[in-house]
């Protein structure tokens, strides 16, 4: 009968001074990471928190510096939507939605094809065109207001939706093309070639193979385009009128109940309402956004 061999005398790893140093260093590293993350989150969310806090505060306590909800009321939201004071937020929200959706849709349709051509089709100077697009995206919007105003006045477009959508597309399109080009360039050519060998035309390969794979990047770009269009103020403040103004312009022109009174609480309430669609959009498409942002990062 054989006896089981006695366990070899090994010193437990946790008691080793070297191990103890490593584990303490790791613990400190993770504490540092969490503290840094907390600081960044607080830094980013504090203005939003203050906005929500002020939105629920009575007008008389607008400048209250308490960090928690005090004198809570819903009157500010009523004021934001009240049409008798001229604060027509519901119409402005509808306008923003129309402008944002149109800009995103058109920019995506054009951007997807442009990005596909720039990344997949060989033609001379294609990267020079890409550089041109990058340059166009950095052109200051303020420089375009006067010529656009002149042009749209001449053709009678001031205060129309197209006057707000077309300039916005020119701002969003470079971002769309650049982001999608980078994504398409990282996609393996072999997938498309395999589809072509299986009998697909180039269009079918694009529609049935490339587009489903590019969905995360397209969703990410769509959200970035929508946010950019939703937050646009400069062009809209000059080219819109009362019936077509988006939320950014409507909030800026809010009036208080007294002359010379800046309605901060109503503005904060409107700001809170305006932020909600973006938060919902990002929460719904969160998974897609993360996939899109990390796509092509690891091969």
């Amino acid at each position: 009968m054989t006896q089981a061999a006695a366990p070899t005398a090994t010193r437990p790893a946790s008691t080793s001074p070297h191990r103890r140093n490593v584990s303490s260093r790791e613990r400190w590293a993770s504490v540092r990471t969490y503290v840094s993350a907390a600081v960044i989150v607080i830094w980013c969310l504090l203005p939003a928190y203050w906005m929500v806090l002020t939105a629920f505060r009575e007008v008389a306590f607008t400048y209250d510096t308490a960090f928690w909800p005090t004198h809570v009321t819903l009157d500010n939201f009523r004021t934001a939507f009240a049409t008798d004071t001229g604060n027509n937020l519901s119409l402005a929200l509808f306008n923003s939605l129309i402008i944002g959706a149109s800009v995103t849709l058109i920019a995506l349709v054009v951007g997807v094809f442009a990005a596909y051509a720039l990344s997949r089709i060989d033609f001379p100077f294609k990267f020079i065109i890409l550089g041109f697009i990058l340059g166009a995206s950095m052109f200051p919007g303020v420089a375009l207001i006067t010529p656009l105003f002149q042009l749209f006045t001449d053709i009678g477009w001031i205060g129309t939706y197209q006057a707000l959508i077309i300039p916005n597309i020119s701002f969003v399109l470079p971002l769309t093309v650049y982001t999608l080009t980078a994504f398409f360039r990282e996609m393996p050519w072999e997938l498309e070639e395999a589809a072509r060998i299986d009998g697909c035309t180039q269009g079918q390969a694009f529609r049935k193979v490339i587009m489903p794979l590019a969905a995360p990047a397209v969703f990410t770009t769509a959200i970035l385009a929508f946010i950019s269009s939703w937050n646009e103020f400069l062009i809209a403040s000059q080219l819109s009128n009362d019936s077509t103004q988006p939320v950014t312009v409507a909030i800026a022109s809010f009036t208080g109940s007294q002359p010379q009174q800046e309605p901060y609480t109503a503005v904060m309430a409107a700001g809170t309402i305006v932020t909600i669609p973006l938060v919902i959009l990002v929460l719904i498409l969160q998974k897609r956004i993360v996939e899109g942002l990390t796509a092509g990062a690891v091969k």
């Binding site: 294609k126 020079i128 890409l130 550089g131 697009i133 990058l134």
Partner: protein, 76 residues
């Protein structure tokens, strides 16, 4: 293979830079023409345009050199 890829990337980056500067060169030409036509002093803008054109020319030279290297293939 990696060297080829690096050369190709370099060529692409040079092209993007040329296009980027090219856009601003065209914008500057338009600004200078507008200023000259309206009788304003365009000397400063012309000097800036000269700088941009020189930068584009340098980048074109670098691009040509890179293309020649690429055509010659990797060094053994």
């Amino acid at each position: 293979m990696a060297a080829d890829r690096r050369q190709q990337r370099k060529a692409e980056n040079l092209d993007i830079l040329i296009g980027f500067l090219g856009f601003f060169a065209i914008a500057l030409v338009v600004v200078i023409i507008a200023m000259e036509v309206s009788g304003q002093n365009a000397a400063l803008w012309s000097i800036i345009l000269l700088g941009v054109v020189l930068a584009i020319w340098r980048l074109f030279r670098a691009r040509q050199k890179n293309n020649t290297k690429e055509a010659r293939g990797p060094r053994r």
